[in-house]
């Protein structure tokens, strides 16, 4: 066990009483509760945390926050392995396991670091230029090689074992960020009684207050923080959400957030999700997301040990870690000097301060002399020295004189960029603020205000003032009465002047603009020379600003360099567009519960469990699970099962669940008139107690759906639709009624869920039904003829509906009972049919029988076929108007050579057929010009003992008896077939009326 050599003996917000052991690259270390992985590694003297993307250069921490470009690790192992995790954002937990990325064989010795030596060849656009030719090499050789060499972490290879959730929250005021501005806003708004949600991505609330030594109202800022958090916790309508990143702003005040519920433990506790994706509906919101410090571009600025000055303060003050023993500060503004003070406070040796400004304020001079630091005014850091860690730097003063200094930490400060990303998610353009030399929020999305650093108001005093004022405004706009405003707390003095420098020219060596993508100042120059001058082009050509950090520390430097190249001002160079998410979001958090079998709701019929008991194999049809076939041990294979079910039904009786068909209850004095208008055939003539087959068209004249509709009363109809189109037809009918004919008295509602419905088919079906239908109902052929449809009762008074309709072509019925009795109905039918060998059949047997009868389903009603194509033109009434009537008469839809429904069978009866094959003439080439139609349905007919099929063939009905080929180029088969009538079985329909 190591001893955390760089951990300070006291101070900070880590709990030294709680030691947590963890592993990095297989080696064990100790840290404390309150650490991040980054701070714990740093405490253990581990400065090298990864290798860079392209050149495989050694990299350490740049930051202490969400902007971290370098310290990306694979967190956890096995199925929970999570690549590209920012070590700065990982809350340390017991037995944490992390692995560095993008190195081989080890982090210290990486073979591909020779890429750095080949550096000049790997400039921007290198891939595009070098690997262009020969084209075939790209896929086979170049891409796999490049992918191996340049990549980030590896995704887990197994299914994520954890559960994720989605959730919705509503509030009057959403506060994004729990630093001084956010906490002030939440407190002021919360005191009014408004519903407030305050989110922060950190596990500790306080923002920069945690990282700085500041005073509020004359006391340590920590006191104010504790008091404020306690009061917020006491307000019942305030919800505090730590570990929650608000990553996106959407229309109408909707915000996306991800809560890392269990990321700070090795394995989520029982019943806890790993993460929770939130959709937050906020009447008003205050963005208090703070600011991100900017680095400076100079040669060797990527060595481990070169760190943002604010990050150094965070490690020292919050995590009680000394990032190095001998520090140099390189700053272009006052904010860097705070690091001098804080480092000295904990006893670190500050060797020098390099300030690019020539004037140094007296108080800084006296601070430097107090801590014994040399001051280089008007100077810059020109280069760094070191292998895997910083060993020293070269300072160049205004006169060009160079001084070499030894140091192991270089704290860089170049001002701050407001974290304004969310203000851009609705296309808001940031605007350049000359005074603070940064982009600030431009036109704000409705309902959003921006407080403190996020608005470019960087001092603590401004943060506290903004927060209080905007929290108050937000609550007031959300309708809450406010007490008189209280003065914002006072703070200690804070200097915040700045004169940023964007890069230091000079020495050889790579000067990085974008550390994550290994984009150097030279790459930006090259892009400018080659004409990729728009920032969007610059981004795509050099990859500057891409990948997991989205350029949080590089975008502005890139812009500034491009401005320099093109002789424009930064504000005229523009910015790239910020889009959600602000930081990476796991797909799991967006999917929530909905993955695997919960990907979407599954619908089960009321007889599902009964079918399962019977050993059914189920098929997904839309959301429904339907019984496909019922295998028995004695069946040889799937086909023998289906054949058995077909033969049993045609030879005796079979039952099949048809509950999934859409059922629409239509009532009203104009219900018949309404049906006349939506169906192509006549309905007013339908007698009560009868069913009729109906077809409806879309407005464009193509067939939409079919089904039987029954007249239960003078003003009462029951429509059935196909399973797949149930919702669509309901919407269509509602549209027709509400928009086209609101004056018609017709009222409709889906009753699909109310009824369990079963087809009872076969010559013995009536006898079986006789066994369960209550005796008072006469269902003899005379009393209950073909297409009869009546309300009856079964099982001694259970209300039921019986329809004598047939899809199989047999004497057949559909029996519907209230869904609670669905399962009982199946049991009762099986019992009543035992003597007749009653057999349950599934969708496959149903399909065989309907193909034998030439009945069409979705394969034929595929949205591209007309009534004429289906051979049903005679059904179209000429005595009335109906939807689609005119458009169905369009010239192209009535041409005689349109593919029209036919049946076909193989010449060689031993051959099988395949759906999707195309018809091509004998001795014709398999070319598009020779395509004469296509196959929609095929089946093996156990009654005919050969394969049969339905399809659409040009001028089909006139070609019966002709031979043609069914060519399937996908499955590489072709079969010579004979065209025939689509009705293969019982042409006269005598069985139907039996």
């Amino acid at each position: 066990m190591s001893k955390q050599p760089l951990r300070l003996p006291n101070g900070g917000l880590v709990d030294r009483a709680r030691t947590l052991s963890f592993r990095f690259d297989g080696k064990s270390y100790d840290g404390h509760a309150g650490d991040t992985l980054a701070s714990a590694l740093l405490a253990n003297g581990v400065g090298l945390m990864g290798r860079s993307f392209k050149y495989h250069r050694p990299r350490g921490l740049l930051s202490a926050g969400p902007e971290e470009p370098n310290a990306l690790v694979e967190l956890r192992a096995g199925a929970r392995r999570e690549p590209n995790t920012r070590a700065t954002m990982v809350e340390l937990f017991q037995n944490l396991e992390a692995t560095s990325q993008n190195r081989w064989p080890s982090l210290r010795f990486d073979v591909l670091s020779v890429n750095g030596l080949a550096g000049p060849a790997l400039v921007a656009g290198f891939y595009y230029k070098t690997f262009m030719w020969p084209a075939a090499f790209w896929e086979k050789l170049y891409e796999p090689l490049i992918r191996r060499a340049a990549g980030l972490g590896r995704a887990a290879e197994f299914e994520d074992p954890d559960h994720y959730e989605k959730a919705f929250a509503f509030c009057d005021v959403l506060v994004i960020g729990a630093g001084p501005a956010g906490l002030s806003a939440a407190l002021t708004a919360g005191r009014s009684g408004a519903r407030v949600i305050i989110c922060d991505e950190d596990f500790q609330l306080g923002g920069r207050l945690l990282a700085e030594r500041r005073e509020i109202d004359g006391r340590a800022a920590a006191d104010w923080l504790a008091t404020t958090l306690a009061e917020l916790a006491s307000l019942s309508e305030v919800r505090i959400m730590p570990r929650t990143s608000v990553y996106g702003l959407y229309d109408h005040g909707i915000y996306g957030a991800v809560e890392r519920v269990s990321d700070h433990v090795a394995v989520p506790p029982p019943h806890q999700p790993r993460q929770r994706g939130w959709r937050i509906y906020a009447k008003r919101a205050v963005l208090a997301a703070g600011a991100l410090e900017r680095p400076i571009v100079f040669a060797g600025n990527d060595l481990p040990g070169v760190m943002l000055a604010g990050a150094v303060r965070a490690y020292v003050n919050r995590f009680a870690v000394l990032p190095g023993r001998k520090a140099v500060i390189f700053t272009s503004g006052d904010s860097g000097w705070a690091t001098v003070r804080d480092l000295a406070e904990v006893g670190a040796h500050v060797a020098a301060v390099v300030d690019s400004r020539s004037e140094i304020k007296p108080e800084f001079k006296s601070l430097a002399s107090r801590v014994g630091a040399r001051v280089f005014a008007g100077s810059v850091v020109e280069a760094t020295r070191g292998g895997r860690a910083l060993r020293g730097i070269t300072v160049r003063d205004a006169s060009g004189k160079r001084t070499a200094l030894a140091c192991d930490i270089l704290a860089v400060s170049n001002g701050w960029n407001p974290t304004l990303h969310l203000t851009s998610h609705q296309n808001g353009k940031p605007v350049w603020d000359e005074e603070i030399q940064a982009f600030v929020p431009g036109v704000l999305p409705p309902g959003l205000s921006v407080a403190g650093s996020a608005a470019g108001r960087f001092t603590l005093a401004e943060a506290l003032q903004d927060g209080a004022r905007l929290g108050r405004e937000a609550a007031s706009e959300a309708g809450f009465a406010m007490a008189a405003a209280q003065p914002a707390p006072t703070t200690d003095a804070e200097a915040s002047e700045l004169k940023p420098i964007w890069r230091v020219k000079g020495r050889k060596g790579k000067a990085f603009v974008d550390l994550q993508n290994d984009v150097t100042d030279k790459d930006v120059e090259l892009a400018a020379r080659e004409g990729f001058r728009s920032v969007e082009h610059l981004k795509r050509y050099t990859t500057l600003g891409m990948a997991t950090d989205q350029g949080k520390t590089s975008n502005l430097s890139g812009l500034a360099l491009m401005a320099e190249q093109t002789g424009k001002a930064i504000c005229d160079t523009g910015t790239t567009t910020f889009r959600p998410p602000y930081t990476p979001v796991a797909i799991g958090a967006l999917a929530g519960h909905h993955r695997g079998k919960d990907f979407r709701p599954v619908r089960l019929t009321p007889t599902h469990d009964w079918s399962r008991e019977q050993g059914a194999v189920f098929l997904e049809t839309g959301q429904w699970l339907r019984a496909q076939y019922y295998p028995k041990f004695t069946d040889k294979d799937w086909l023998s099962t289906v054949n058995r079910e077909v033969l049993a039904t045609r030879g005796g009786v079979g039952i099949c669940d048809v509950s999934t068909l859409g059922k629409i209850d239509l009532q009203g004095t104009d219900a018949a008139e309404f049906l006349e208008r939506v169906y192509i055939n006549a309905w007013k003539t339908l007698p009560i107690g009868k069913a009729r087959y109906g077809l409806m068209l879309r407005e464009d004249g193509f067939v939409m759906d079919d089904g039987t509709t029954s007249r239960l009363g003078e003003n009462h109809f029951l429509m059935t639709t196909t399973t797949i189109n149930a919702t669509k037809v309901m919407q269509h009918l509602e549209f027709c009624h509400q928009v086209l004919w609101p004056h018609l008295d017709v009222r409709m509602v889906s009753v699909s869920e109310q009824w369990a419905q079963v087809a009872v088919a076969g010559p013995r079906s009536r006898e079986v039904l006789r066994g369960i239908v209550d005796a008072k109902h006469d269902i003899s052929n005379e009393a209950f003829p073909y297409l009869a449809a009546r309300e009856i009762s079964v099982g001694g008074g259970i209300p039921a509906r019986l329809f004598r309709i047939s899809f199989s072509g047999e004497l057949a019925y559909e029996l519907a009972v209230p869904a609670d009795y669905g399962q009982a109905m199946m049991r009762a039918l099986m019992a009543a049919g035992q003597a007749f060998g009653i057999t349950p059949y599934g969708l496959d047997a149903m399909s065989v029988m309907r193909i034998e009868k030439g009945h069409v389903i979705g394969s034929e009603l595929n949205g591209q076929t007309t009534v004429r194509d289906l051979g049903l033109a005679k059904m179209m009434s000429s005595k009335k108007d109906f939807i689609g009537r005119l458009m169905a008469k369009r010239e192209a839809l009535v041409q005689s050579d349109r593919p029209t429904l036919v049946g076909f069978k193989p010449i060689d009866k031993g051959k099988s057929l395949s759906g999707g094959a195309h018809f091509v003439g004998i001795r014709r080439a398999n070319k598009l010009e020779n395509d004469e139609g296509y196959v929609t349905s095929v089946a093996y007919s156990p009654n005919l003992q050969h394969w049969i099929g339905l399809g659409f063939l040009k001028n089909g009905p006139a070609r019966i008896g002709e031979r043609i080929r069914a060519v399937d180029l996908v499955r590489n088969s072709e079969v010579e077939v004979e065209i025939c009538s689509p009705v293969f079985f019982d042409h006269e329909g005598t069985r139907l009326h039996g």
Binding site: P270, D609, E753, A831
Partner: protein, 206 residues
């Protein structure tokens, strides 16, 4: 419509096979309680050109006004829940006499029985809103969703009609209706969402 519930014609309730009595998830005092509502009567009522006659009928037969906005009018035995313009869900706590009621109402409305087409639950408990938050895009806060409010929405991609009833001894209570065919998927979401709070399930034996 009295059923002769012989052994073979025994009804199977919509939650059968999904909801089982007991506690799911955390074993501490349950933060949320579900009671399956079995044997209720449901029907869709759609008024004709005018709903005034229907309202006279519901007042006379049930003592209930027709809610004109997304609300539920509830008595001890019946309820009317707004379901859209001129459309209501009629509910009866018992099915006895329900078909006669439907016949009476069918004079003034299109009546379609849905008793078997819905799976119904009563959810209550201290954490009930935290569970609803995992599904509901409707704000169910005390102030935004007072007793008697109703909504038609979707939870976990499943169409839902729900309303808030009088608070029970364990706090706010909601009654939730979903399509019968989706009871399994709904239960999968509910059980996963409620487990962290301790989820007590009671099967109504009605």
């Amino acid at each position: 419509m009295d059923k002769q519930e012989t052994s073979i014609w025994r009804p199977r309730r919509p939650w059968a096979g999904f909801a089982e009595a007991g506690q799911i998830g955390e074993s501490r005092e349950p933060g949320i309680t579900a009671v399956t509502l079995e044997g209720l009567g449901f029907a869709t009522l759609i008024a004709g050109t005018s709903s005034e006659k229907l309202e006279r009928a519901t007042k006379r037969l049930l003592g209930l006004d027709l809610p004109r906005e997304p609300c539920a009018a509830l008595s001890d035995t019946h309820g009317l829940v707004w379901s859209g313009p001129d459309q209501w869900l009629l509910l009866a706590r018992k099915r006895t006499g329900f078909s006669d009621l439907l016949v009476s109402l069918s004079v003034d409305a299109a009546v379609s029985e849905q008793s078997h087409g819905r799976s119904a639950l009563r959810l209550s408990g201290k954490r009930v809103r935290d569970v609803l938050a995992k599904g509901s895009m409707v704000d169910v806060h005390q102030a935004a969703f007072p007793v008697g409010t109703a909504a038609l929405t979707s939870f976990a991609h499943i169409g839902v009609q729900f309303w808030r009833t009088q608070d029970g001894p364990d706090g706010a209570a909601f009654e939730i209706l979903i399509a019968r065919s989706m009871a399994g998927s709904f239960w999968s979401w509910l059980a996963a969402s409620a487990a962290e709070f301790g989820f007590c399930v009671t099967i109504d034996q009605a």
